[in-house]
Symmetry: D3
Subunit: 137 residues, 6 copies
């Protein structure tokens, strides 16, 4: 059967700051600039989850889009939306919440919930000008 | 010569319903939800056709964009636009018009019209939140 | 207090055809072209509801955006989404579902649910290239 | 001379929470929901500044767009971008940073810097689905 | 009958430079900066034409969108697209092709072709960050 | 470490014409149509630069986005923005400035400035409907 990648867009609004706790405040300010602001700033993150696999001939679906939508809501939006990533989202207690690291964290969460026959790619827009893509490489 | 992928966007507005004729109406409603509505619903489909190959050193083109535009118009837009996909577009008499299957049908139609030295990829947006990509795998 | 217009975007996917039941099929085809296709076609309608009024000094809101979102869902999206407008949405049994008329119908529905001290404007995108605006004039 | 409205887009990324300091935490949570999260959340605010007036026949400009761009940068972006609105932007120490109130604050700041012969309108997108417009009424 | 504003988007790609022939090259460079480059630069202009009036009860249209589309093509796109505005589009032989002036010129051209009972508004995007609106005031 | 592709958007506005100096004017007009207009036309080019590599565990960055932004500004925007590509940008004195060739030229310029451990991909939108992608193949 033909292999198709289906994509679903979602979004969450969150506060964060870029910060390496092993470094001095001076070095954090030097490397991360205004992104290191200890009072935080925030973003409307736009998330695209792509799932690639063979079309099921009975349904015409690679995966039910409603199931994918629900998975993104329960596993990502409910945990990230209207949160402070550094303070309230577990992996970022010890991991700097750069767009790169957020994409990897989201990929790891969803990878456990989606059948291994399906390839998974995460695209995360931090702003309309900056975005990252991670496929598990 | 350098290999570049050129992309052309197009669009068509169509009605469809999701429906497997081997199933009961109950099962169709269960699996496809409101997408199975027998009175149909519809979408503004956004189509991106990508063609990848070597740049022709005389023209600087991979393929003449006007020719690609005309091909999409005559082979896809004229046949799909302002149509009921289930009722009026031949492959979907027996094939469920999911975004996945529509992308494969479009790929198959265009593959016959474009030189085999050129790689072809179809991206189809069913809504601004859902889209699929097919490259002939 | 300052008067501000708040805007909320929503969307629904529907089938329709343009058709005047007082006319012959020939005249419908002549005036409405491929939009008169009796098998229907469809759109992803994008809706923007604007509500203008004074800011409440206690909340900083003109109107609670969550209440507006819920109103749009219950009064418009639940009734229009994944529907055939001509067949399944009452006002269009006898009213041609042009973008203009759909906008007026939505305005009339929401006008009854929103306090009269607030001005209401409906913007409706039929496609990304065609849209209409209605303010009750 | 013809009167034209010129528009310039800009953006800033900021953290905020919705909060009325006269209320209990319970009432704040009840009215503002997850927007009241004391750890903050954030947005990519998109700002459109419109300035309307007669075209200067010598330049063909209503106002030099570069001057408008610089004004938005120095008066708004430098003060709001990568900031916590509640903690670091003066008016919001005592004013709830709803989109409505932020738009009014921006209008008041720019109104003092732009000639009174020119009409000023502020459009502020908090997310791609929610935005407000303020013209000084 | 209800009054609705219908909107149609179009686009043209053109070269231009900002230049006042009554001024020295030095003054042109001072006022218009890199926009005065004598070798020209260019834009993808996005045009939105709005026409406001009463809905025709027979058709449900304010004006036939196909007629509006054809008018924009014949009167604007055919004359502006892939042209050098300063050199090849008559009004700009003596008028600086700022976004403001281009909008006024387009309004004047279309005003003669559209019934006077209909109000006309032109929105012209020079870039995705800069745009102007003109309604004949 | 995980390999992530970071993307940065930029833009430049330029004039160009399509032209092969080895051909007669007639053949240029025949092959390139209105794009061969000797008076030039222009575009708002949108550029996306993607850089793929392992995340640096200290910073959480593949590459500092500010450094990438500055590189695009100094190497591409400063040289291409508000320019006539055929007349003022060196490679296009002898190379037809099609979107394909512009993407290859940009890739070659940036490839020299970015560490070889990082993969580079250029996406260039000539209009919102036409774009090209080049990865150095």
């Amino acid at each position: 059967m033909a292999k198709v990648a289906i994509h679903r867009k979602a979004h969450f609004n969150a506060a964060h700051r870029l910060y390496n706790s092993d470094w001095s405040d001076e070095r954090n300010a030097l490397v991360f600039g205004k992104c290191a602001n200890p009072h935080y700033h925030g973003h409307n993150y736009e998330l695209i989850v792509a799932v690639k696999g063979e079309i099921n001939p009975e349904t015409g679906f690679v995966m039910d889009m409603k199931r994918l939508k629900n998975l993104i809501e329960s596993e990502i939006e409910d945990k990230f939306d209207h949160k402070n990533l550094n303070e309230e989202v577990v992996p970022f207690k010890s991991l700097n919440p750069t767009a790169e690291n957020i994409a990897v964290v989201i990929w790891n969460i969803l990878r456990e919930k989606i059948e291994t026959r399906l390839e998974l790619t995460i695209t995360l827009y931090e702003t309309s000008r900056n975005y990252v893509v991670y496929s598990g490489e």
